[in-house]
């Protein structure tokens, strides 16, 4: 789930205690005898409400029968409804009680536990214990999937598979943030962390993602698909099954996210090398959250790389999609998550457009102006206020960055004072942005003239001429960006000019040139030509119909013909 604003607020030891006793009734094993244990278990099972029990039984049955359609209904609708009705404030029933209901089915319980922990993360506050257990559960699940002898018979709906991968990465990020906040961790927790360095270890997480990708041969499949080769052959035994294929595919997207979180934007874009972003029937479009995710991270990576034009293109593409399909997603439980991401993208778009002004699609432009018009004006004027607003928007909209390693437990003092990855990335980005801000400010002045003397312009701008000269050079450098032109490799592109204003200096004289878009008449003419052609065709058809009706009656075509008016 997209709980990006989730803050790790500490409730002291109390929640731990409660969660412990909930999750770990082994504590009381020594004290109660067997009969009491059985009674306790029975009481636990009894406490599960009837609708929930039915739901679990259905889920179990559909899982065993690989009934993907019904599973999708169970997962997307019933689970959400029951959560809202019974478990809005508390966790779902204990996995061990559920075990009694489903006859201890290992696979089902692993999947159930995944849902159980996911729910705790989203509605409640996970304790350190919960985090550890959830990690172990994921290890179980992925071990089962990756280390089976032959391809598994299991099938799950795409939405569920995406959520598994997404939640896995989310919990990883949450853990990294949690552990790096050393000042808020109690000494016992720090000991626990030190002793269990393998839990939520960065290498393990990456290993899972890479293994899923490798097992499903998804890269080979995508490549074969693009080059017209044999996809089935490229897939191999495992990749042919939808479970592996989709998990592999979603892992690619997951990797993009992890790379962005670690600040490696080139790797993020490189990972998508076989995924065709322009293809409207690509696999990622099957799950909306995935679709939105892809464009968000691609756009963000471009933004950080200074390729503002590409970032804008990416954001505008997905935002038009979201706004057009908004009415279809009202009822989907992902609606909130998708909306949140869309809002963040508007903020990033506002930053990108301020740094590299271009025309955007009308509806997006009006929404942007409505929401961030004020901020955009301030950003374009440059100066400290611009930087402040940019920081604010950036911190709202950026992904949660992480440190791949645990902090140094030996030097806790230094670790607690270390700059958070968020702030570090922001600092670097702002450095770039400060330079880039030259463009909108100079542009607004240069647009008014065709030639201008350097000294006069410098008095207008209140700068020393030498300073202005430097700024002009910077403008020149910055108005050229690499723009992606549709190759499968997202990193490639052509160097193009991204502003409509260009100039040249002859010693001290500035010659300004503007490029404008000529009138586009072709589309209008084509559309109207087609319209009139259709009109003529339909009139002719009517004519023909009346003529044939007036003459010999024609059996077949009469159905739609104009009634005869004799």
């Amino acid at each position: 789930m997209y709980q990006e604003n989730y803050d790790d607020v500490e409730f002291g030891g109390d929640v731990d205690l409660v969660a412990n006793s909930y999750a770990n009734s082994n504590l009381v094993e020594g004290e109660l005898d067997e009969e009491e244990l059985i009674m306790q278990a029975q009481a636990g099972v009894q406490s599960i409400p009837e609708p929930v029990r039915n739901f679990l039984a259905n889920l179990h049955r559909n899982l065993a029968n690989c009934n993907v359609g019904d599973l999708a209904y169970n997962y997307e609708n019933q689970f959400v409804r029951l959560t809202d009705k019974f478990y809005a404030k508390g966790p779902w029933p204990e996995p061990q009680y559920v075990a009694a209901l489903v006859g201890d089915d290992g696979l089902f319980l692993t999947l159930y536990r995944e849902l159980y922990y996911r729910h705790i993360y989203s509605r409640l506050h996970p304790s350190m214990e919960t985090r550890f257990r959830s990690f172990e559960n994921y290890c179980d699940l992925f071990n089962y999937i990756l280390n089976s002898d032959g391809p598994l018979e299991l099938e799950l709906p795409n939405q569920w598979l995406w959520d598994i991968v997404d939640e896995f990465i989310y919990q990883f990020q949450s853990f990294c943030t949690h552990r790096s906040r050393v000042s808020k961790r109690s000494p016992e927790e720090i000991e626990l962390l030190k002793e269990n360095a393998q839990v939520w270890n960065t290498y393990s997480v990456l290993n899972v993602l890479y293994s899923l990708i490798q097992k499903s041969s998804i890269c080979e499949q995508l490549e074969a698909g693009q080059n017209g080769g044999d996809v089935i052959e490229a897939a191999g035994d495992f990749g042919v099954r939808p479970l592996y294929k989709m998990l592999g595919y979603f892992s690619i997207i997951g990797l993009v996210r992890v790379h962005c979180m670690l600040g490696d934007y080139t790797m993020a874009l490189q990972t998508l090398e076989n995924v065709e972003l322009g293809n409207s029937r690509a696999l990622f479009t099957r799950v909306t959250a995935c679709h939105v995710s892809v464009y968000y991270y691609v756009g963000f990576a471009y933004l950080m790389m200074g390729r503002y034009a590409d970032a804008i293109q990416s954001f505008v593409h997905i935002l038009t999609f979201v706004s057009r399909t908004r009415q279809y997603h009202q009822r989907s439980y992902q609606f909130d998550a998708v909306n949140k991401k869309a809002e963040q993208m508007y903020a990033l778009l506002a930053i990108a457009v301020s740094l590299s002004p271009v025309r955007v699609d009308e509806s997006i432009h009006s929404y942007l102006r409505e929401k961030y018009g004020d901020q955009q004006h301030k950003m374009q004027r440059g100066g400290d206020e611009a930087i402040e607003i940019m920081s604010e928007l950036y911190l709202y909209a950026c992904p949660k960055f992480i440190m791949p390693n645990p902090p140094s437990y030996t030097d806790l003092e230094a670790a607690s004072k270390a700059l958070e990855p968020q702030s570090f990335q922001l600092k670097i980005f702002l450095r770039e942005a400060r330079l880039q801000l030259v463009i909108p400010t100079l542009r607004s002045f240069l647009r008014l003239y065709t030639t201008m003397d350097l000294d006069r312009l410098s008095t207008f701008l209140d700068l020393a001429p030498a300073e202005l000269r430097n700024q002009l050079m910077v403008y020149k450098q910055r108005c050229r960006q690499i723009k992606w032109v549709g190759s499968p490799d997202l990193l490639k592109g052509e160097s193009t000019s991204t502003t409509d204003l260009d100039f040249a200096l002859q010693e001290d004289m500035i010659f300004i040139a503007e490029s404008r878009v000529g009138r586009r008449y072709a589309d209008w003419f084509i559309r109207n030509t087609n319209k009139i052609q259709d009109l003529v065709n339909s009139i002719e058809n009517r004519q023909k119909a009346t003529i044939t009706n007036g003459g010999k009656p024609k059996a077949e075509e009469e159905a739609g013909a104009v009634p005869v008016e004799a």
């Binding site: 490696d264 200096l505 009138r519 084509i526």
Partner: protein
């Protein structure tokens, strides 16, 4: 398509390429291989072929994952190379993979300052910072990188030729930190005529030609298929 820093440079050996494209790039034991490759890049004075951004980024990523392997001198060299790279974004990409701790180191800090001057086109401050202090007996921050000065001058000249149509020779001297004679030699080399007042005329190319353009619409053939097929039917 012009090549970007992300393409595979012709000088990259296969060994490095397979390292970068597989999971071995996460193997901390391979850090040495990438470090050696960086040293080889530094030894190569040819500015066209001596910068392999992807390999250097992989090395920095390895440092990010294994802080105990961090070698500040290597990082300094990676950053110095990125500074004079033809694509302007390289330096930043390297920075994203570092940490605040590393950035507070003295020589790295100096590189950051140099980069601010260079990207802000404040060339005189840049040269002063690099070579200014007379009593500096510490090693220059760009030590051990062959062809640094040349690569740098190439970059600056590129910027000058994009911005100016005519420029005073004196201004050029200040920007590239060469004396009058050297600048004249440079002009001869690039075939730029310099007149008696010391004004150099630079060749016109797309970047420094200030011409009002109108972007005309290009109608693709596919848009006309419906009309043409209708015309055929008649």
């Amino acid at each position: 398509m012009a090549s970007t820093s992300f393409d595979r440079p012709s000088t990259r050996p296969d060994e490095i390429h397979s390292l970068l494209t597989g999971v071995e790039r996460y193997n901390p034991q391979k850090a040495g291989v990438l470090e050696d490759y960086l040293v080889r890049q530094c030894a190569n004075p040819d500015p066209v072929s001596n910068h392999d951004l992807m390999a250097n980024l992989a090395l920095l990523k390895m440092y990010q994952f294994n802080p105990d392997l961090v070698d500040l001198d290597i990082i300094r060299r990676v950053l110095a190379k990125a500074l004079i790279s033809q694509s302007q974004g390289d330096f930043n990409l390297c920075l994203y993979l570092l940490s605040d701790d590393i950035c507070s180191d003295v020589s790295i800090g100096k590189l950051l300052v140099l980069r601010d001057y260079l990207e802000g086109a404040q060339f005189d401050k840049f040269w002063k910072e690099m070579y200014g202090a007379e009593d500096d007996d510490e090693e220059s921050v760009v030590d051990g990188i062959a062809g640094f000065d040349n690569g740098l001058r190439r970059l600056i000249i590129g910027q000058i030729t994009s911005t100016y149509q005519t420029v005073a020779a004196k201004a050029v001297e200040k920007m590239v930190n060469l004396d009058e004679e050297a600048v004249l030699r440079l002009c001869k080399e690039h075939n730029w005529p310099a007149d008696s007042n010391g004004i150099i005329t630079l060749p016109l190319k797309s970047e420094n030609k200030a011409k009002n353009t109108v972007i005309k619409e290009s109608v693709k053939f596919e848009q006309l298929t419906k009309i043409i097929s209708a015309a055929n039917d008649i």
